[in-house]
């Protein structure tokens, strides 16, 4: 307690607390510092890898987009999807959705008018004439 006896008057306790701040052993600091730095390097390498993959993807997309590859790829995908759908869907369900000239050409034929049967007792005039005339050959 000699120290305090000597310097009790005008003692700056705050300065003493700062000056007497406990210090870790240098060996302990070095070990812990190395541990922290190693971990940091590992995590930085991981994030760099992710950033590299992202950048590479972006560059590839840009290169494709510049030559219209994206549109081509999307239309190919659409065609493939349509083909698959056609194969998978049962035939009786397939419907032609679009109208086109082909539909007009192959329209359903009109139903023929059915002649009414003649009533009995009208005479034999018509039938006789049909029998006597030669057939029309055009």
């Amino acid at each position: 307690m000699r120290y305090w006896r000597k310097r009790h008057e005008g003692l700056d306790l705050e300065a003493e607390l700062r000056a007497g701040r406990p210090e870790p052993a240098p060996d302990f600091v070095h070990r812990l510092e190395a541990r922290v730095r190693n971990d940091g390097r590992r995590s930085r390498a991981g994030s760099l890898r992710i950033a590299f993959v992202g950048a590479l993807t972006a560059v590839m997309l840009l290169a494709l987009a510049s030559v219209g590859g994206v549109g081509y790829a999307s239309s190919s995908a659409k065609d493939a999807a349509v083909s698959v759908k056609r194969v998978v869907t049962p035939k009786d369900v397939i419907k032609v959705l679009k109208r086109g000239p082909a539909i007009d050409q192959y329209k359903k034929p009109k139903a023929k008018k059915v002649k009414k049967a003649k009533k009995k007792g009208q005479g034999t005039r018509g039938r006789v004439r049909a029998r006597t005339r030669p057939p029309f050959t055009g």
Binding site: W4, L13, L17, R18, P24, A25, R35
Partner: protein, 169 residues
């Protein structure tokens, strides 16, 4: 956007966390254990650090505080006996440090924590207030009182030291 690494420069942070732990638990292996544990947790959660919420040292001290409160605070404070024999400058320096350390150990938990944060970790009253969820004024007053109590302990030690030789005579 690249995130700022809170542990980019670990050495000064290690020293400040250690000083905090040593003021709370005493200089030695317990303080080293708390410091190591603090940095292990910090490494595990380094991506969760938000610079908007404060400095990296405040973040680390928050972790260290939880470590100490979570179990180490029950351990006995590590102190060494101070012998006031004839001393050289180096010895006087050592004795001074040990005397301060012993006086800090005699403080209650709350005062010791404030002293550790202010003079060990070198945080400002405002940073301590943010860390402890209190008002800056309240922290300043509490620190002033803690220093007063510390002075009282040192004074009592001095009186006892004066009494001892006279009793032995």
């Amino acid at each position: 956007m690249l995130r700022r690494d809170p542990l980019a420069d670990p050495a000064p942070l290690i020293k400040r966390v250690y000083a905090y732990a040593a003021y709370r638990l005493g200089d030695g292996p317990d303080a080293e254990d708390v410091t190591s544990e603090t940095f292990e947790r910090a490494l595990r959660y380094r991506n969760s650090f938000d610079p908007k919420k404060g400095e990296p040292v405040a973040w680390l001290l928050g972790i260290a505080k939880r470590c100490v409160d979570g179990g180490w605070s029950k351990t006995e404070y590590a102190t060494e006996d101070v012998d006031s024999a004839d001393t050289t400058d180096l010895e006087e320096e050592t004795i001074r440090r040990l005397t301060v350390s012993r006086a800090v150990s005699a403080l209650d938990e709350r005062d010791r924590e404030l002293i550790a944060l202010r003079y060990g970790a070198d945080l400002t009253a405002r940073q301590i207030a943010e860390l402890l969820g209190a008002r800056t004024n309240a922290i300043e007053v509490a620190l002033h009182r803690a220093l007063g109590r510390l002075r009282g302990i040192l004074g009592a030690d001095e009186a006892e030291a004066v009494r001892k030789p006279s009793a032995s005579e």
